[in-house]
């Protein structure tokens, strides 16, 4: 399966849209030609998938999988090198009382903290993800955003989490959003690009679907719900809509794109609901931390508590997991 890395996004977009020149009008026609999302049906389906009962060995498997899918995140103005080192150390050893606990997929920090995270993680198989492009608002000039991305990549980031320009999207300037994603993708080089759509600001599921397709068209390797700074952040219906988009995108182009819900997922129960939805909507191919991630910080503690309960047979408590300072996640 090919990835979007070495594809010229504009040429491919022209192909897909069947136009000789990529204009905002052409993009608008294409995106608005996507079928609308049935809001009631979508929410009912998400609610239905939330009621599945996952027990015993399936639950143990799901907990370990969910831990391995976490992008352990700290995105605070008050982040210190010490806090980032602490977070990276937690990623290496999520539960000191049980070394069989898997590591999260990545540590997600601001661009200037990438070297600290990189040094702490060493050769371990935990990626460093950096938010860039004037996160979280995305309100800066294109040049500044791209410089932000290049800087993070030079510092050793394996993955870049960009935010789209929601203002341009809502104003109907899809071409600007497309170019921004495409140029950011180019600036990423070998780093994987996650495109944050900030679904809490997009108002409707139709917009979520359009933004998902637009992000994939621009070359995003992942589509991500939220920055975690806006409420509502990730919700199950929104994630379901995005999972349908990546499934349909693969049917259309043969390329697989990942999904990352972020923000507001705090309990193991929530995480397992998402995994059920991934399995039912996108399919088993996405049940892997290369294709599905949780942007979270406190979720890890709850998963570890559940894991301890399953291992020891006794309910565990906050005294037996790391005390990470609360963040927006």
């Amino acid at each position: 399966m090919s990835t979007a890395t070495d594809v010229d996004a504009t040429a491919r977009a022209r192909d897909l849209l069947g136009v000789s020149r990529l204009t905002n009008q052409a993009l608008t026609g294409w995106l608005h030609g996507l079928p609308g999302v049935d809001q009631v049906g979508c929410e009912a389906r998400a609610a239905g998938l939330s009621t599945r009962s996952i027990k015993t060995s399936s639950k143990a498997w799901a907990i370990d999988l969910a831990i391995s899918m976490i992008d352990l995140t700290t995105l605070e103005g008050a982040d210190t090198p010490g806090k980032v080192r602490g977070l990276a150390t937690r990623a290496l050893v999520p539960d000191p009382s049980d070394r069989t606990t898997p590591s999260p997929a990545a540590v997600c920090v601001y661009g200037d903290m990438v070297p600290v995270a990189r040094d702490t993680l060493g050769d371990a198989d935990v990626k460093v993800a950096a938010v860039a492009t004037a996160f979280p608002s995305g309100r800066a000039s294109r040049a500044v955003k791209l410089a932000d991305v290049r800087d993070a990549v030079e510092n050793g980031a394996d993955e870049i989490d960009m935010v789209i320009d929601r203002g341009a999207f809502l104003a109907g300037d899809y071409l600007a959003v497309f170019r921004e994603v495409a140029e950011t993708k180019e600036a990423c080089g070998r780093a994987r690009l996650k495109v944050i759509m900030e679904t809490g600001e997009l108002s409707t599921y139709d917009n979520v679907r359009r933004a998902s397709w637009l992000s994939m068209l621009g070359g995003g390797d992942f589509i991500k719900t939220s920055t975690g700074k806006i409420s509502p952040a990730a919700t199950l219906p929104v994630t379901l809509t995005m999972l349908e988009a990546v499934r349909d995108w693969r049917d259309l182009t043969g390329e697989q794109v990942g999904v990352k819900p972020a923000g507001g997922i705090r309990t193991s129960k929530d995480a397992i609901r998402y995994l059920v939805t991934v399995h039912e909507v996108a399919g088993e191919d996405w049940l892997d931390n290369h294709w599905f991630r949780f942007g979270a910080s406190s979720l890890l503690n709850d998963l570890v508590l559940q894991r301890q309960k399953m291992t020891t047979g006794a309910y565990s408590g906050a005294d037996y997991v790391a005390d990470d300072a609360p963040s927006g996640y």
Binding site: G313, A314, Y315, S316, G317, A318, D319, Y320
Partner: protein
């Protein structure tokens, strides 16, 4: 003359200031204590049959409420607890009726038990801003320091309420736990849960913050082991393990040892555990059983 249909009651649990049903959906019949004349025991009400997951939820609620309750001033805690006694006095008729049915007492005896229970509550409420002077103090040290020992609450306490004394006994084990700033999960008497449900209704309509007291009704032997082994419970009062069906209180102590819980044993020795007599005015031993001592050295200067 018209005959009115009975309003049959199905009581619920009291967790985090709300009255949820058991997550298991189960309930059980509560029967009146046999009084001699009747051969078949009289049906009183249905009570929720709490499960391990209800106990888990109750511990979460208690943990959440603990910092706020502990940081309330001693004076404030005393006022809040006194208010509970006021509400109990207002619901006196209901308490008397339920104690009488549950314990098979005469009307006069039930009145006396309820009075004693309310008085016991007031007695403990009064201790809220006094126990620190009695149980803590200034230690003489060889140096220019004040050396102060101050009692602090242990945290979340699981309480197995006495099986026989359903109200006076309950108040006598519950009040000393919360007066110092602990929060608790109470496992009500298995056969006599109604006075505990009444007390929960008193607490819900007083000023006690939700989660400070959580009441789970059900089978003691089923739920107690989960509380005893729960790592987020800091202490357990095993009083109600005495005379409870199928409860091995030694086993509960063993489970409690896993995270070094404070354990208050039931009365008696060995396997012959007995429920204490809650009649006489108590001492501070139940209060001090759920306290930690913080000792502070402070330079005195000259």
């Amino acid at each position: 003359m018209s005959t009115r249909v009975d309003v049959r009651k199905t009581y619920k649990l009291y967790i985090g200031g709300a009255f949820p049903r058991s997550e298991s959906g189960r309930s059980y019949e509560v029967l009146a204590a046999p009084t001699g004349r009747r051969s078949t025991p009289r049906f009183l009400a249905n009570a929720a049959q709490g499960s391990r997951k209800d106990a888990r939820d109750a511990v979460v609620a208690a943990r959440k409420a603990q910092p706020g309750w502990a940081s309330a001033t001693a004076y404030n805690r005393g006022q809040v607890l006194y208010r509970v006694a006021e509400v109990m006095e207002g619901r006196r008729a209901q308490l008397v009726s339920d104690v009488r049915d549950s314990e098979g007492l005469t009307a006069a005896r039930a009145e006396a038990v309820v009075s004693a229970a309310i008085d016991r509550w007031v007695w403990y409420a009064g201790w809220s801003d006094k126990y620190a002077q009695v149980l803590g103090g200034l230690n003489p040290v060889a140096g220019p320091y004040f050396d102060i020992s101050a009692p602090e609450p242990t945290g979340v306490v699981a309480v197995l309420a006495p099986q026989a004394s359903s109200l006076l006994g309950l108040v006598s084990v519950l009040a000393p736990v919360i007066v110092s700033g602990n929060t608790c999960v109470v496992l009500a008497s298995q056969a006599r849960p109604l006075p505990a449900v009444d007390l929960a209704e008193c607490l819900a309509t007083s000023d006690v913050p939700g989660g400070v007291v959580n009441v789970v009704t059900g089978r003691t032997a089923e739920v107690a082991p989960w509380l005893a082994s729960h790592r987020d419970v800091n202490a357990i009062d095993l009083t109600g393990a005495a005379d409870a069906d199928g409860v091995d209180w030694g086993g509960l102590e063993l489970a409690a040892a896993e995270n070094l819980k404070r354990v208050l044993r039931p009365g008696g020795t060995g396997a012959t555990a007995v429920e204490p007599d809650f009649g006489p005015t108590p001492d501070l031993s139940r209060l001090s059983a759920f306290l930690e001592t913080k000792t502070v050295w402070h330079p005195k200067g000259r």
